[in-house]
Amino acid sequence: MSEIDVGLEVNGEQVRARCQPHDTLLALLRYRLGLTGTKEGCGEGECGACTVFMDGEAVDSCLVLAAQCEGRQVTTIEGLGRGWPDGLHPVQKAFMETGAVQCGFCIPGIIMSAADAITRRSDAAREEVRRLVAGNLCRCTGYTKIFDAIELARDRVARGEVRPEA
């Protein structure tokens, strides 16, 4: 089993890393690149704590091999706010303001899914918001504040109150 060399773009920067053939994207991010915002919960696609964007689509990074990321663009929670005022995505801001966080372990993944959901479906009502973040589990909050925060961010973006910086 020989190491492999993977080159990809992470949060706008080109990076290269040595990996094992069985390493996941999650392991690459956390242990080779030190980006520990992305969490490992189940390691099996159930909990969404490891959610990142790969070529613009939300994926569970625990179910992608690092070797599959050659030449791909990955965005993690550390890079989500790039281009937004104060470097915070509207969903991040809304979570901070509403205190929609308890232990916080699930939150990076939930924010990634929520950001994806409101970007694609700025008209999503609560039922649809729930469907779009159904791949993320939270063991603490009971979700009410999480959905309130997501809807706050959705409405602010829809009303044009917050825009990406030019």
Binding site: G45, T51, C62, A67, E70, S113, R131
Partner: protein, 289 residues
């Protein structure tokens, strides 16, 4: 997981994939979205060997409409299906199955080729593909062959796909005016493997007379199965509530499900009646528009 991926190959074309498969010795595993095989590998259920990444092969992507059929590349994802107005209009059972499956992160990676090759009796696209009369196209350096989806599976996780073959595409016959539906029951709405599922695709006359119907059931036998006795019952009759209930009961009496980690045989049999009845009711709603 460590040791399972002895090396990983990334062919640049389908031809290169096929010649690689032809020359390789020993265990080999195609890797598409990875949402089944990586979970299995982490559970120690994948033999150590060579992994071959097919995800980047754009030749295997794409939904193409022809006069008589719709072709779906093996790498078409559940999200691709969900975003296709053509498939929502003409292959509604498949669209429903992909809309209901997993969650966003899973659907973004879950390919139809992977769902079919994984050969789970609970794989959600499979009953839908049965109901649509899908054909699976397998290719190797020896050539291409077309296998009706119902002839592909020999048991749970087992198919007639040879070690040097790959699924390249699925094709669905285009049937003017057909309506379809897929329904499933699981532990919860998202992320749950189906305890029982049903798909139906039919052409209905103006008075709701069943001109032709295919009904398939998931998670109640070692493979997905058709329900031919139900199809015979429905043929030529108007789909009204009494007939739908009768069809459900007949479907339930025709299956011998098992008890496993996800459900019991009693629950499964009872619920077959429910999902079949509801799927047929959806056909009527959709026919009426």
């Amino acid at each position: 997981m460590i040791g399972t991926v002895q090396r990983i190959l990334r062919p640049k074309s389908v031809d290169e994939l096929l010649s690689t498969l032809a020359e390789l010795q020993g265990p080999r595993h195609l890797l598409a979205g990875g949402t089944d095989i990586l979970v299995k590998a982490k559970d120690g259920k994948v033999a150590p060997g060579t992994w071959i990444d097919v995800w980047p092969l754009d030749e295997l992507r794409g939904v193409t409409a022809h006069d008589d059929r719709i072709d779906l590349g093996a790498n078409v994802t559940m999200t691709d299906v969900e975003r296709s107005p053509l498939l929502r209009a003409e292959a509604r059972a498949l669209w429903d199955a992909c809309y209901e499956a997993g969650a966003v992160q899973i659907r973004n990676r879950a390919t139809l080729g992977g769902n079919v090759a994984n050969a789970s009796p609970a794989g959600d696209s499979i009953p839908a593909l049965y109901s649509l009369g899908a054909t699976v196209h397998l290719r190797s350096v020896r050539g291409e062959r077309a296998v009706p989806i119902e002839a592909l599976f020999t048991g749970p996780g087992k198919t007639v796909i040879a070690p040097d073959e790959a699924i390249v595409r699925l094709s669905l016959p285009r049937v003017r005016g057909a309506v379809g539906a897929f329904l499933r029951l699981g532990q919860r709405k998202a992320q749950a493997i189906s305890k029982v599922s049903a798909a139906a695709t039919a052409t209905l006359g103006a008075d709701l007379t069943v001109e032709a119907a295919r009904v398939a059931l998931g998670a109640v036998a070692p493979t997905v199965v058709r329900a031919p006795e139900v199809e015979r019952l429905l043929a030529g009759r108007a789909l009204e509530p009494g007939l739908m209930a009768e069809a459900g009961e007949l479907a339930a009496s025709g299956v011998t499900p098992i008890t496993d980690v996800r459900s019991t045989k009693v629950y499964r049999r009872e619920m077959v009646a429910v999902v079949v009845r509801r799927a047929l009711a959806s056909l009527v709603d959709r026919r009426r528009g």
